[in-house]
Symmetry: C2
Subunit: 186 residues, 2 copies
């Protein structure tokens, strides 16, 4: 049975609060309605479009400066950062990121997003990746938006910072990686 | 004591036979002579320049066709390939591959070279990376040439092909990785 508009709008509001980086396309698919319906719902609810939501998160929370590399060298768009603690970035999978044959994102782009986020997280002038273990849990397709979340997990016995990164499309995990980061103050 | 020309030329010949992808710059450094001296030595010995050596290796040995992706989507230049067995590629580290700040190659480019070589090795229409463990053993600098060597190591219990990749600058290992490859005939 189709949900009433009231129910759908309530659920939509909750969903966007929980997953602020979700797209209108993903929401439309999930609710079984058209993208236009989602846009109208958002307007009625006073919820800004995704690009604005990202900007507002960035302004509210991202008040730190990347130290280990110039921000334009980060693969993906950083939307949250607390140095030596956590970071979030977004990468939209465009034609240059996929295999031409099947439109599946190439692994090294997901790796690049996660790895450069791990570098950006480090509160030091120099951060280099020493080791990494990664796992691609499901193929990512052209047009999907990958949200990578990095968390600092402390230091190992060599003084390297362990950074854990999990990347999602919607609420589905597509990539997980652990990065051992060498840093200049070691 | 400086080696005589005869001794140097004999050693040079052996060295190039063992490491055909070594550059004149690397040889000059290793023998403690100028690049011009190495060039003259090569001319006297009738050893072609690196680009020609690469081409001749490619023509002699690389008689297989990449199946899992179009050859132009491989990161690096493939110079040897036996499907489901082994593959070699070369990547010259150019300005677009390095951190602007310290001219060290970014990890995802070394990963991309190794990972795309692991894909290229697979004798199947579809090859996707499921898991990988990698190790960066020393920073690679702008201008260095990275030779990646991939070897198929058989299948795991899930039917995934294990590919081991070791990447070198000269005879020094700079990267090692193990890739678990999902393939379409699984």
């Amino acid at each position: 049975m189709k949900k009433t508009k009231r129910v759908r709008q309530e659920e939509l509001k909750t969903r966007i609060e929980q997953m602020p980086f979700t797209t209108d396309e993903e929401l439309a698919k999930s609710f079984g309605v058209s993208i236009q319906t989602i846009r109208l719902d958002r307007m009625e609810l006073g919820i800004p479009e995704l690009r604005e939501r990202i900007k507002s998160v960035a302004t509210q929370e991202w008040n730190e400066t990347v130290k280990a590399l110039p921000v334009e060298e980060i693969i993906g768009e950083v939307v949250d950062l607390e140095l030596d603690d956590r970071a979030i970035s977004i990468l939209d999978i465009r034609p240059e990121h996929v295999f031409s044959r099947n439109h599946i994102a190439r692994g090294h782009h997901l790796f690049a997003q996660a790895n450069s986020l791990a570098v950006a997280l480090i509160n030091d002038e120099l951060a280099l990746t020493a080791r990494s273990t990664i796992h691609f849990s499901r193929p990512v397709k052209l047009g999907e938006r990958v949200v990578a979340k990095a968390t600092a997990k402390g230091e190992d016995d060599k003084g390297r910072t362990i950074v854990s990164v999990h990347s999602f499309v919607g609420n589905e995990e597509v990539f997980a990686g652990t990065f051992e980061m060498y840093r200049s103050n070691q």
